[in-house]
């Protein structure tokens, strides 16, 4: 039996020090003998440490007092959580519906940054034309102009307008495909 094996056995369970093979090893190995002695002392001290504190007097009655003072709401937690979830879901849906309604009134969100989108309208020297050919049903459209460098502002435009410009390369990009 090697020192490492003895060390492993003794740390796992100090009573293994009484095993015949371990005893034989300890008799001829002073290092393991010292190790056994140290662990044995540590084990005794640890045992004493486990007996050092006692619960204060009246511990049990304090438990009952606390039980009486704190109403148990455990079952409520399970009911409050789904109700809260439903409320949040309802509020979110309501906001989404309102947003959708507002958009349908004739609002077009335009961003200068959204180059990946298909141009919604092309601003040329002439009427405002939808690319896909659909006419805007409302008498006007609200065009929200967004720019990273400037504050957002809204232009209320008639659904059919004439734009006069010297630069024929401007394009307006639709940022709200739900329209």
């Amino acid at each position: 039996m090697t020192c490492k094996e003895v060390e492993r056995l003794l740390t796992e369970n100090i009573s293994r020090g009484q095993d015949f093979q371990v005893q034989q090893h300890i008799r001829r190995c002073s290092v393991c003998k010292k190790f056994y002695h140290d662990l044995d002392s540590m084990s005794e001290l640890s045992h004493l440490l486990g007996k050092m504190d006692k619960a204060p007097t009246g511990f049990s009655s304090s438990v009952h007092q606390r039980l009486a003072q704190q109403p148990y709401l455990g079952w409520l937690h399970w009911r409050v959580a789904p109700v809260l979830c439903l409320l949040i879901l309802g509020l979110t849906s309501l906001l989404w519906i309102r947003e959708a309604q507002f958009t349908r009134k004739g609002e077009i969100l335009i961003s200068e940054e959204m180059f990946q989108e298909t141009p919604f309208v092309r601003v040329g020297d002439g009427d405002l034309q939808l690319i896909d050919g659909d006419a805007v049903p409302n008498p006007y459209v609200d065009v929200i102009l967004e720019s990273p460098s400037e504050d957002e502002y809204i232009l209320r435009l008639p659904s059919r307008i004439k734009i006069r410009t010297n630069d024929l390369n401007h394009e307006i990009y639709l940022n709200n495909t739900s329209y």
Partner: protein, 200 residues
């Protein structure tokens, strides 16, 4: 012919029997469980927290949770495993809360002073002139050495060696494998022996 039924007094009943009795409405069975484990639990928590009032408070909280959730106890493990697990979770929460609030204890202070990641090594007592320290002093130094252990070793050592739970129960309380617990206890003992060389 009359039949004689011998029944154990309730105070000697096994934990699982007491829990069953409590679930059937016997409040006294719960009382017996509290009396049976209150000292061990307060001691266990105080070994971890070093605040007797807080330990008593958390031990009471553990029993309150047992009282209110007794129907969830499955009986697959020992009652003491469940109780120690509740207490361990409460203690860990408290330790985390203290860390967040900056309430420091001996080992935290030492960890801060040695914040380069090296493990704190207790002062070398080998040169101490008092070779024969009295037992109270030895216990104090053992406690300090335990406090300086990393949390995972500390918990495993206290449960296995101080509370004297079997390895299997310790592994269930800590929700880890048997091999891991054995390895942690082994490592804890080696570290403690190094720290306490010349004292024990």
């Amino acid at each position: 012919m009359s039949e004689i039924v011998l029944s154990k007094p309730i105070s000697r009943m096994a934990d699982n029997t007491l829990i069953s009795a409590y679930l059937k409405g016997n409040e006294y069975a719960f009382e017996v469980l509290v009396n049976r484990y209150q000292d061990r639990l307060v001691n266990y928590l105080n070994r971890l927290l070093h605040d007797f009032d807080m330990s008593a408070d958390l031990a009471q909280e553990a029993f309150i949770r047992v009282y209110r959730n007794a129907e969830r106890y499955e009986g697959r493990y020992k009652f003491s495993t469940w109780l120690y697990r509740i207490a361990t979770n409460l203690a860990i929460d408290e330790m985390r809360r203290r860390e967040r609030k900056g309430r420091v204890f001996f080992h935290n202070v030492m960890n801060w002073l040695h914040s380069d990641g090296e493990e704190y090594v207790l002062p070398d007592f080998r040169h101490c002139p008092e070779k024969d320290l009295d037992q109270a002093e030895k216990l104090k130094r053992l406690q300090k050495a335990i406090d300086s252990l990393p949390e995972k070793y500390r918990l495993a050592f206290i449960l296995k060696e101080v509370q004297e739970l079997p390895y299997e129960e310790t592994s269930r309380v800590l929700d880890t494998s048997l091999g891991t617990v054995k390895s942690r206890v082994h490592r804890a003992k080696i570290l403690l022996r190094e720290k306490l060389m010349g004292i024990i």
